[in-house]
Symmetry: C3
Subunit: 349 residues, 3 copies
């Protein structure tokens, strides 16, 4: 168990202790459940009451809220949620494994494993593969031939990297992630389908985290890329030749067809579907379940719906649709009024 | 092969044999394909003709239909489909494995494996893990440290349980199910994303069955829960801190964001998407492909569409939309009539 | 590295060399990146400029375009993309493994492994399983009891075949594909759910390719079938008792409920959802994200939307919806006109 004083934790996040800097903290917790030796955070004013009642040994707060929590041990920071995350990482560091190659692991003679790496039980490392310093390959991981994995990576159980795939440093791949399977391409002929060659590769850059069971296909020709600092949730599908930029966030079960470009800092919801050759521009935000037609360019802004449209436009369209019953009433009423007018006219003439 | 007489099978389901109670049954089958030594069921009247023509050695029927199938060996019950399921389980019991730890399995010294358990080839069991009586861990299963698995469970090949996860008794996890991977949470800062801590756990209660490749993420803080008797289909995504109640049914490829609550006895279709912090109340039914906006409360009843709405309302809205072409015609017609009235008025004045 | 002259490559695809038939080709590439010893293809006229600028040692072109690329070494064919695919397969043959059973593989004594097969590390082959000639089982593959795998198959790492499943010849199963898990069927009773028996099997016919993480469930009774030459993308879900025909193409993350029939030569987009007991007729095309209600028959033609409708109809409906704001304006205008007419009438009477 890690034990750190509030003073040391405050230093870690450029914060200031109010109260007892010598309080020893062992764990993070939420406001409601936190108790002795635990630290929690107050996201904003709405949580002030819960915070007052909290039994946490220390609270992380914004300076503005600090005075509203007197007689408490606090760490004042600019962004409490961010500080809590950094402190959480310090208090709950990832498991350390002793550098070793498990007796049941099978490592090709030509593979190059860093002396500080961990290769777990039943792992298979192929010819000429490279595993970087302090990288952990958990049970059942499979690295194909000529795979490169950088330093400080964690590959959770049963991750599969096909031949030739390249992974940066500080990358986390959750259980059963599959990188580099063949893309989905065929050419129709008289008797059926001929497989289009899938002989490219995949490059995953530094600081990427990929959720369980996500699949990133290799390029037909060239490469599929996941840019630095990008985060993919569980069961995302990334097709061949996609180029996903840096610091992109993609929620669970989103499917990305071939040759899609997603530029830096885009945010994509869950269960979104991208037609092939679409381009999402820098900073665009796409709501969950949206559908993007092939070849579409999604400009910066917030997008929604199937097919995708600017959120404002979508809302206006929805409002129009909700007025449909009223419109029908209006039309009926107009018909009656006209009938009435006609009768009046008839009487006159 | 299991052999049971119709009399014994009838006892099993509180039924009554009409005809030969000594007929030996070996297998279940459907009405069309059933033959010698096989038993089938008649779901309702619509299947009477097929039932009459069936060559099944015995038919399971409701009492009401019994007299319409004279000269047959029948088992009369209240619910034929339910009785067929129970009889099927008796005739086709799950494979039994001799209690053993396969030579290629790797079990931590501190792990506690019941004497009646089966630990298959290439399984990895971590430190302080507990495996209950008669539980089967099939090939390639990975149990992290401090994992608890109850009695009479079946973990199919390549299931991965992350550290600290807890599984009840009589739980079935199909191939490659992943329980306890990190939830998807990050805090944005100037340079990119800081991972929000994911240090909670997952609790799977008794009698749960989870389909192949489904992922249930661990809580950020606290726990993610799947309640007793709940059934998840293939490739369902359950985000961090979700609380899924008892006897809930969720079809394939549905995605559930973080902190969603689904109360007991809800029924959820396939490819449904839940925004975070939504709550589904007891007994609500949600149709396939529905989308639920974050924070929404779904009350009892049948729900449909994106965003989700009561089915009646959805149908009315669809009916309105189908009348759009007619509405446009109506408007044109009104315009003509008004033009005509105006002309008449002009002639008068 | 494979080296083949342009003359030999032309023979392979029934093409004709224009230029130097002795040029040695080693790799395929795209027009932009191709260089020495590389061959690319010109899909149609739109690529003529890129083709002219290409540094590829040889270009595959249609006869019609041949004269527009003078002074180049060309292979003239009817279908350049198809020829490129065939040539790609010749230049980049799949990895060959020496026939062997890895020391860490566990093979049941009663299993029947062809002498030319490859059984990789940590593979598990169950009782009475059959593995055909030249078939490769990569690391971590699990074959249950009584499984049959034909000749020339590739099962990528961590594929799981449940007991009794049957796979044809020349089948490719990508990483973590799961064939034969229990279908999703339960019968509700007073206390919860009774599992409906799932005792059928799965048959995968010849020349099928299945993408990473796709799951095909076993039949409740009878069999689930994937027909000859059919191609499934990643993370497709195929429910129990489905019958998928020959040369069907299904894109990623599509979900198919139980007892769905998809006839030959259908083309299905990604993230499509099928209700149970639907039937897709021969040659129908269904757009991505479509939703098909249970029991629906989808006739030949192009289909779109939720619920699915003919594409033309969908487009008309969309056009109507886009006219909603105008319709509302029209109605307002009519109301004003009628008010005006009424006033005129009042003045007269």
């Amino acid at each position: 168990m890690t034990q750190i004083t509030t003073e040391k934790l405050a230093e870690l996040v450029n914060g200031r202790v109010a109260g007892d800097g010598a309080t020893v903290i062992e764990r993070i917790a939420d406001l409601e459940h936190a108790g002795e030796s635990e630290i929690a955070y107050v996201e904003n004013e709405r949580f002030l009451d819960v915070a007052s009642a909290s039994k946490a040994a220390c609270l992380i707060v914004s300076e503005r809220l600090s005075e509203k929590l007197p007689d408490r041990t606090l760490i004042e920071v600019v962004n409490p949620k961010l500080a809590f995350s950094v402190i959480g990482a310090a208090l709950h560091p990832p498991i350390q494994r002793e550098p070793s190659i498990h007796a049941t692991a099978v490592v090709a003679e030509t593979a190059d494993i860093a002396l500080t790496a961990y290769v777990g039980p039943n792992v298979w490392v192929g010819e000429y593969a490279h595993v970087g310093a302090y990288t952990r390959l958990e049970a059942g991981v499979v690295l194909g031939a000529n795979v490169t994995v950088g330093d400080d990576c964690v590959l959770h159980p049963n991750v599969v990297l096909y031949d030739g795939v390249s992974i940066g440093s500080r990358v986390i791949l959750h259980a059963a992630v599959c990188i580099g399977a063949d893309g989905f391409g065929y050419v129709r002929h008289d008797l059926g389908y001929q497989k289009f060659p899938q002989v490219g590769t995949v490059i995953i850059e530094d600081d990427v985290e990929i959720g369980a069971h996500t699949c990133v296909d290799r390029a037909a020709l060239g490469r599929t890329r996941i840019g630095r600092g990008t985060k993919l949730d569980n069961m995302v599908h990334v097709g061949h030749n996609c180029d996903i930029g840096e610091r992109v966030v993609i929620a669970a079960q989103t499917g990305i067809s071939g040759s899609v470009v997603i530029e830096d800092d885009a945010v994509i919801g869950g269960q979104v579907g991208f037609g092939d050759h679409t381009r999402v521009q820098k900073g665009a935000i796409i709501g969950s379940k949206a559908g993007i037609l092939p070849g579409k360019i999604v400009r910066p802004g917030v997008w929604w719906g199937i097919p995708v449209q600017p959120l404002d436009q979508y809302k206006r369209m929805n409002a129009h649709m909700n007025r449909l019953p009223q419109m029908r009433e209006d039309i009926k009423h107009l018909q009656e009024q006209i009938e009435e007018l006609r009768k009046q006219l008839d009487r006159i003439t």
